[in-house]
Symmetry: C2
Subunit: 366 residues, 2 copies
DNA sequence: AACAAAAGTGTGGGCGCACACACAATTTAT
DNA sequence: ATAAATTGTGTGTGCGCCCACACTTTTGTT
């Protein structure tokens, strides 16, 4: 078909009888151009509908930006943190040719020392930007303070530290996610029922998130005026080890045998599901995150609902945001909540498949 | 920080003591290079980890691709089809500088003549690729046949024509979406209940999709062994006009006053919700698509679940797929199902907000 | 052997843009 | 008045890559 000739800076120059240099000057308005010509050029740009070719611009500028990502390591293939990582990598590939260089620093989810160590490395590198999952509260605060002093912008993913001067937070609205959990669990429970919230903590993870989840969950039942009908217990287990969890659960269920629904505030709902299955307990279960263990339990009916917080998106978005910030000088929104997907047995497969394949990415040709 | 010098074709040339021309020849293996040098170059590329800069390549090649999108027009701001369009536009902006030129052709959802007319225009233009929503079955078949003859690849979005030789289908798995609807409705219904499926058709839309939805919905109840407990009625209304719909509903509900749950197979669930509200009917309701009217009814409790089929994603994906096909010569998957999001009152806002803002897009800086 | 054809290789121009620099036309300072 | 600083403008080079073309060497043919 007849090609709509794309107009270049040269076309504008010819049209206005000035040199490309002048055009360039008015585009970047760095002065040195007479008012008349400037006006003529500006009009021509409008009239010809000229937009600079970003590829050429990027190529000509040739500047580079390094961004460091500080996230938990991925101990096993299907682990939760493989998903944000995947998103980061996809976006990194996409923007590679734009001069975005992405480096990854992994820390042990249960060892704040490793966090400090890796954070130190990043601080030393002095990158142009940082993406971090601030799972250790105090250590993260120390780190971001250092970054602030050096003038390095940083973005939180997955968990937030409110009131911190981060460039942006990209992750779930935890309170709302708890509301959803409440709603979902409530929908499959009888009018009157006892409910259990299970917290599992190990190490010194950013526990404020868990507390906010718990609160949101309870708030939901207040909000809908069900606080009379539903008794909500809380069980906090200082481990994610199966044996330990099972022991605590046994103890609890003996004491409170009337539990009809359970809400697990982290990605370990599958443990509870296993327990239920083992003891032939017919208890509704809601949990977080589309990890393989949870998917398996969902498929065989041990988990009723999974709330997924777009982990891949989070990674992608983070890089995207920094890219926009660096290259287009676009100030991001301070808070970027991601979709909270409700997963049930029936739509499970789509979420698995859709995110696997070359979701997007300019450059996924190898 | 010390910048990881990105290696170029020149570096490879210097390293291997051959000219860039030769390097270029082996990269695109278009022959004319002796076996020894070829080997040396290939090794060097591996060793130096050279990847060609896609920006430079695109710039140098300078070829253009026109893609035409044939979709329903957007009669009002919040209309369903504004969302796929939004996705198309976002992706179009993203790939503009890569030489992808996107043109839109709109047809009237209720007028197959307009479809034929617009399709004719596209055929005349002979673009490099086409994205179409094949809502008119026969007309679409005629169109794609013409495209096939001309060797123009095309992609279906939103609705599929099975067994057609399209490059790809990007849209929901309708059967599965109906399963989800069944599951959701069932979860909020008593053990024994009467259910109503409402079809609304106007004009000659691709009705096979609706039939597949209906079948999938019924299949779900068979699958879970509830066909005994649930009586499923079907009501087909030949209009989407409020008055007409209300009249038919009245007639139906008088005849079958025991209906406890309704499943609407298109995006007009809000009409049913209004009717229920008007007559103080406490009936559970499941429908499709996050259009403003539905959102409003969901907020005031008239709709329990909305299933959303990632409309924005569909548009984005379509352009992305053609881009990959043209520029990277990447053969797409024949079927690309999109996520089926389950929307409830509690997560509604996220879906609204998240898709509005610069979801992504290299080039959204103006 | 002589010469044509083919294979192998390097050079240079161009894609669209940014920017440094040279120079001309001012304006300002001395 | 002249030198100096300032403003206005054009030219040229390079970003990394692709490709047409000229050139050299090898191979094949009668």
């Amino acid at each position: 078909m007849e090609r709509t000739k794309k107009i270049t800076i040269q076309d504008v120059a010819r049209y206005t009888n000035v040199s490309v240099g002048t055009i360039d000057r008015v585009i970047h308005n760095r002065g040195r151009v007479s008012p008349e010509k400037r006006k003529k050029v500006e009009e021509a740009i409008k009239k010809l509908n000229f937009n600079p070719n970003m590829l050429a611009r990027t190529l000509a500028l040739g500047n580079q930006f390094t961004v460091c990502a500080l996230i938990p390591s991925v101990p096993s293939p299907g682990h939760y943190w493989s998903m944000p990582l995947q998103g980061l990598e996809m976006a990194a590939a996409q923007f590679k040719d734009y001069g975005i260089i992405t480096e990854y620093f992994f820390y042990d989810l249960f060892d704040e020392k490793s966090f400090i160590k890796q954070a130190g490395k990043i601080a030393e590198l002095e990158p142009n930007g940082v993406v971090l999952a601030p799972l250790f509260l105090q250590e993260s605060k120390n780190f971001t303070e250092k970054l602030r002093k050096k003038g390095i912008p940083y973005i939180f993913i997955d968990a937030d530290i409110p009131d911190d001067q981060s460039l942006s937070y990209i992750g779930p609205d935890v309170k709302q996610s708890a509301f959803i959990a409440g709603r979902l669990l409530n929908s499959v429970l009888p009018e009157k029922a006892e409910i259990l919230i299970v917290n599992m903590v190990k190490g010194f993870e950013n526990a404020s998130a868990q507390r906010r989840i718990e609160k949101g969950f309870k708030d939901y039942f207040n909000k809908i005026g069900q606080e009379e009908n539903k008794t909500i217990h809380t069980l906090t287990i200082q481990s994610t080890q199966k044996e330990e969890v099972f022991r605590e659960l046994t103890k609890f269920y003996i004491k409170y045998p009337a539990i009809k629904g359970v809400f697990v505030t982290n990605s370990k709902a599958f443990l509870i599901a296993e327990f239920h299955r083992l003891h032939y307990l017919n208890i509704r279960l809601v949990g977080y995150d589309l990890v393989p263990d949870n998917m398996e339990q969902m498929k065989n009916g041990g988990i009723d609902f999974i709330i997924s917080q777009s982990p891949v998106q989070q990674g992608k978005r983070a890089i995207q945001t920094l890219f926009d910030y660096f290259v287009w000088k676009k100030e991001p929104q301070k808070i970027q909540y991601v979709p909270l997907d409700i997963i049930i047995c029936e739509n499970l497969d789509f979420y698995i498949n859709f995110n696997r394949h070359s979701q997007n990415g300019i450059n996924n040709n190898q």
